[in-house]
C-alpha cells in the first residue's frame, strides 16, 4: 500500500493548492474544480487496489470540505476509477496527452454530476448555468495546465517511495 499512501500525499497537496487558489480567486467569483486530477493518474498507472484506495481517500478529503453528503466525492471518484481502470489497457497511457485527456474528460463528468446534484438548491436554476459554465471553463483550463506537472510529481513521489507504477505493456 506504499503506492497508495504516496499518491494520497500528492492528492493532499493538490487539495491544499486548489483551496488556496480558490480562496485567492474568490474576489472575482471564479472557482476551480480539479476532480479529474484526483483519479486520472492512479487509475491509469497504479494497481487497482492501490489506485482505488488513493482515489477514495482523495475523494474523502474533498468531501470533508464540501456541504454535500459525506462520501459523494469518494463514490464519484471510485466509480470513475473503476471505469478508467477497465479501459486503460486500450489507451496509450504512457503518453502525457492521453493522461491529460483522461483527466479533462473525468473532470468534465464530475463537474456535470455535481452541478446536477446541487442545482436543485439554486433559485431559478437556469440562471445559474452561466456561472457554472464559467467555472467549468476555468477548471478545465487549470486542469490542462497543471496536469503534466502533477502527473510528473506523482510519478516522482512513487519513485521516492519505491513504489513503481504498474508496468505498461
Amino acid at each position: 500500500m506504499r503506492g497508495a499512501v504516496a499518491v494520497f500525499l500528492t492528492l493532499y497537496l493538490l487539495r491544499a493548492l486548489v483551496a488556496e487558489a480558490n480562496s485567492a480567486l474568490s474576489g472575482a467569483h471564479i472557482w476551480l474544480f480539479a476532480g479529474g486530477l484526483y483519479v486520472a493518474y492512479s487509475a491509469l498507472m497504479l494497481p487497482f487496489g492501490q489506485g482505488l484506495a488513493a482515489s477514495v481517500l482523495g475523494g474523502l478529503l474533498c468531501d470533508a470540505a464540501a456541504p454535500l453528503a459525506f462520501g459523494t466525492h469518494a463514490a464519484l471518484f471510485a466509480t470513475a476509477h473503476a471505469v478508467v481502470f477497465s479501459v486503460r489497457e486500450r489507451l496509450q497511457r504512457d503518453a502525457a496527452l492521453v493522461r491529460v485527456t483522461v483527466a479533462l474528460v473525468v473532470n468534465l463528468v464530475f463537474f456535470l454530476a455535481l452541478s446536477a446534484a446541487r442545482l436543485r438548491l439554486v433559485p431559478a436554476g437556469a440562471a445559474a448555468w452561466p456561472r457554472m459554465l464559467s467555472d467549468l471553463l476555468w477548471s478545465q483550463a487549470a486542469v490542462a495546465l497543471a496536469a503534466p506537472w502533477f502527473f510528473a510529481l506523482q510519478g516522482r513521489t512513487l519513485e521516492l517511495a519505491r513504489a513503481r507504477p504498474a508496468r505498461i505493456d
Partner: protein
C-alpha cells in the same frame, strides 16, 4: 473455456470491488462517517490556517514598508474616528439604559444578548454550488453551530460547522441559505435566499413574498435587513439592497433581486455573535 471465464472475471473485478466498497460505505454506521468527516477536515485545517497566518505575516511586512508620514496621517485619522466612536458609545449606553428602563416598565422579556468573537478568515470557498468560508476560531473559543456572523457592512452568514480550531461559515450568498427578512421601514416579513454569483460580478440574492405595495429599482434601491424572526439572526442586520421587484406568477406577492455588498467576497475579518445564554 476456463481462460475465457477468467478473463471475463478479470474485466468485471474493478466493478465487483467498487460495488463491495459502496455497500460497505452505505451500511457503515453514521458515527463512523461523522468521525471520518471530522478527521479529514482536521487533516486539511493546518494547511488552511498556516496559509492564513503566512498571509497575515506578508501583510504585516507590507505595512512595515509605509513611511512615517503615512503612519502619522493614519494615526490622526484613527484618533478622529476614535473620538466620534466614543461619542457614539456614550449615546448607545444611554439608549440601552432607556430601553432597559422601558422593558422593565412594560415587563417585556429580555432580548437576546451576544458575546462578540472576532475571527480572521482563513479560507474562502465561493463556487457556483456553495459559498462558504473557514474562520480561525472554533470550539476552542466556544463558537456554537448556528451562530450569526457579521461584519461592518451587515450580515455575513451563519456558522454551520465547528471544528477544534476552525469553523465553517455559510454565506448569505449561498443558494442553500434562507432568511426571514424585512424591507427597511416595513415590518412585514419576506423570504430571502442566496442566488446567482456571477463571475467577475457581485453576488446576488432573491426575495419572495414581497408585499405588492413595496417598490424598488436600481435607481431607488431598498435596504433589506434581518427580521429577527426564526431566532438565529438579531433584527436589523443589513443583508443587501433590493434593486428590482416584479409581480410573482400568482399575482399575490412580488419577487425581486437583491444586490449584496462586494466586500463579502474579500472579507479578512468577521465577528461571530455568540449567544450569551445559549438554549
Amino acid at each position: 473455456m476456463r481462460i475465457g471465464q477468467s478473463q471475463r472475471f478479470d474485466q468485471a473485478r474493478p466493478f465487483v470491488a467498487l460495488g463491495l466498497a459502496l455497500v460497505v460505505w452505505f451500511v457503515a454506521p453514521m458515527a463512523v462517517k461523522t468521525f471520518a468527516r471530522a478527521s479529514f477536515f482536521e487533516m486539511t485545517a493546518p494547511i488552511a490556517v498556516s496559509a492564513s497566518y503566512a498571509a497575515d505575516l506578508q501583510r504585516f511586512w507590507a505595512l512595515r514598508l509605509h513611511s512615517k508620514q503615512e503612519l502619522i496621517e493614519a494615526g490622526r485619522d484613527m484618533a478622529r474616528l476614535d473620538a466620534s466612536y466614543s461619542v457614539a458609545v456614550q449615546q448607545n449606553g444611554e439608549l440601552q439604559a432607556e430601553v432597559e428602563r422601558l422593558r422593565m416598565l412594560l415587563r417585556m422579556p429580555a432580548s437576546d444578548r451576544f458575546r462578540f468573537e472576532h475571527a480572521r478568515v482563513a479560507q474562502r470557498d465561493f463556487s457556483g454550488w456553495w459559498q462558504r468560508m473557514v474562520i480561525r476560531k472554533g470550539a476552542d473559543y466556544g463558537i456554537p453551530v448556528g451562530a450569526p456572523v457579521v461584519y461592518s457592512g451587515g450580515l455575513v452568514g451563519r456558522v454551520t460547522e465547528v471544528h477544534a480550531t476552525t469553523s465553517v461559515v455559510e454565506l448569505i450568498s449561498d443558494p442553500g441559505l434562507r432568511i426571514a427578512a424585512v424591507v427597511d421601514g416595513d415590518t412585514r416579513p419576506i423570504s430571502y435566499q442566496g442566488a446567482q454569483n456571477r463571475a467577475f460580478g457581485t453576488a446576488r440574492g432573491v426575495v419572495e413574498f414581497v408585499p405588492l405595495d413595496v417598490y424598488a429599482s436600481k435607481g431607488v434601491p431598498r435596504r433589506l435587513a434581518t427580521s429577527g424572526l426564526g431566532g438565529i439572526y438579531p433584527a436589523g442586520l443589513t443583508i443587501g439592497q433590493i434593486t428590482h421587484v416584479e409581480p410573482s406568477a400568482d399575482g399575490l406577492f412580488k419577487t425581486g433581486e437583491v444586490s449584496l455588498d462586494r466586500r463579502l467576497a474579500e472579507l479578512t475579518e468577521v465577528t461571530v455573535l455568540v449567544p450569551a445564554n445559549p438554549g
